[in-house]
Symmetry: C2
Subunit: 368 residues, 2 copies
């Protein structure tokens, strides 16, 4: 980069400073095709102004269709077609599937190009875009193939989420709720009043952006401590054992649950178990944490509407739970919640304990 032409400009937003400092020879900006045209223009201008290199803009339809072996081959063709080198950089503006797939393709092109993500969904903003887990689905299993490749930065801007469907927006808040359950600081900022969604004003957007940033901070800290999931990163699986089973068991039905909706119900179940403990380990819950559990249950019900229709029964969930790659023997590994920042695990479900607990949970849900 020519330092005369592009002096360091500390007034640049930090993600643009990161990009400029990375000094790429070319930037490929892949963005979800269904985005606000105004925002696309604004961002393209910002990229062009901040960078000395060519910026190529490629619209693309996101979603799970990108997360296949063949789709990655097509992404590599795209990289080749645009002459990307190991000094190039890929910016994504999309949901979690886009950062997963583009992140994977970028990490293997010439043994690794750098990436930067601008998430357009709450799920990507607080979770998927962070932590460097890239991946695709393979052989019928989710994220079987991938790499660990940390993006240079994740830039959150809630305005991108205005064009997202309401169901996707609300479902994505579940991972933020999980983060609040894992971290006392995050719980405090989580409990501040939130503007309505969708919103139009600058202040409201800034409030949402800050709220997402605070939640993303939990993921960021945990991943820095344990990038390859040998220890504390496993606490991020809270609520996910049941969630993955729910997703898998409804995937082929007319009423497939979104990941975030499944996580919301997984968290409801974890809170129920915490208030009526059957899994071993951990101290008795404090009065304060009992209150947090009840408050969070209400928050989840208010912000994340769940799909109508009957839920899978305990036996069917159990079948899917036994396929999880974390299991040992015929018990199912899970994480138990015992208070804000107090997650116990791995704990093991036996079949009969799980089925009895699930049935009690469903009864108490229907009664409430």
């Amino acid at each position: 980069m020519d330092s005369e032409t592009f002096p360091v400009n500390p007034s640049l937003p930090s993600w643009l400073l990161v990009l400029r400092t990375a000094d790429p020879d070319r930037v490929l900006w892949v963005h979800e095709e269904a985005c606000s045209q105004d925002l696309l223009r604004e961002y393209f201008m910002n990229l062009e102004n901040a960078l000395a290199c060519p910026v190529v803009q490629v619209p693309m339809r996101g979603g799970e269709r990108l997360k296949t072996w063949d789709a990655v081959n097509e992404l590599l063709r795209l990289f080749q077609g645009h002459g990307l080198t190991r000094s190039s950089l890929v910016v994504t503006t999309g949901g979690g599937a886009m950062s997963d797939a583009l992140g994977f393709a970028a990490s293997i092109w010439k043994r690794g190009m750098r990436t930067l993500h601008v998430p357009t969904t709450p799920l990507a903003a607080v979770d998927a875009a962070w932590g460097g887990k890239t991946g695709i689905n393979w052989g019928g299993s989710k994220n079987q193939v991938g790499t660990f490749a940390e993006p240079l930065a994740v830039h959150i801007d809630a305005r991108w989420m205005q064009t997202l469907g309401e169901r996707d927006f609300h479902a994505g808040l579940a991972e933020a709720a999980k983060h609040a359950l894992l971290d006392a600081t995050a719980m405090r900022s989580f409990q501040a009043p939130l503007p309505e969604w969708p919103c139009a004003g600058v202040e409201e957007h800034n409030a949402w952006t800050s709220w997402f940033e605070a939640s993303a901070g939990v993921k960021k800290r945990i991943v820095e401590l344990d990038p390859h999931e040998h220890g504390v990163r496993t606490t991020l699986n809270l609520g996910h054992t049941v969630a993955h089973a729910l997703e898998a068991s409804t995937a082929t039905t007319q009423c497939a649950w979104l990941h975030g909706e499944a996580v919301a119900l997984g968290l409801h179940f974890a809170l129920h178990e915490a208030l009526n403990p059957v899994l071993g380990g951990g101290d008795a819950m404090s009065a304060e944490d009992t209150e947090h559990a009840q408050w969070m249950g209400q928050w989840l019900k208010e912000w994340i509407p769940l799909p109508k229709g009957p839920w899978p029964d305990a036996a069917s969930l159990w079948t899917f739970m036994t396929e999880d790659k974390k299991n040992v023997g015929d018990e199912v590994r899970d994480m138990a919640w015992r208070g804000v920042g107090k997650v116990v695990g791995p704990v093991s479900w036996k079949r009969d304990t799980f089925e009895a607990t699930w049935e009690t949970f469903v009864r108490s849900w229907n009664d409430s």
Copy 2:
């Protein structure tokens, strides 16, 4: 691992200790199908005795056919079929193409399994198996897609090379010659007398094994200093600019050069340029280094027979050289040799200088 059943046994060879300490849940041992049956039996017994986990043995034909997008998909199917998890480990016994392709597939399966390589060619033993560059060919270019994923260890045993064709064996020595040119210690052990090849005795095999280990040590040290090739690792490209052009320009002819043969000629050319310098930079060569250059020229001629038939002319080589991904503008980047351990670069060839130097080189070769 049950420490009662498998106490640490320091009398184990170090590669088996490494495997045991890695405590995998399963080992997939992929080996070149054309190997000595006696050695295969010996190694399988050693693996079974050293490890508490199942060891699965899979014969496979090596070579460039493994280094494709579709072949990697097949390797992933193999991993799935054998139930490999993120705690499993892949051992390869084969040439550089096998460690490149299996290393890549392992590095993306469940975001990374560990590997250990037992090379069966001199090229893999001193070069390809080391340093964690995995990769496949893609879109007509070599190693366009891959990862950096260091193997746990590389175990060298020259007995595996007995079943290798003579041409492959001799060609593979070129990378060892390159290492001697890069490192004074390696040059000293390189200059010790070598047993004939092929050989049958234990002592001769041990002598070759030690010789390969000393050479591999150069690669190991350089890669530790600069794993991602931002600095000193580029010196490993000595002789390779011309070599890659030679390989590419003969690839589709009846007389394709092996990589090692092309590197041998690339080194001859680098030594010629060192003795008749035209590239800028570096001090004048010492008398000792001039002697080293002459000695190495003789050694290369003695140990690495080159293919018969006319060599590509300067203009045709230049065309292929300009396609190298390291180039800037219309000059070709290269490394220049100025003595043992004294490599200067990147230096730039201009077309006319290169063509004149190549023609002088060819004339002096024919005269000698």
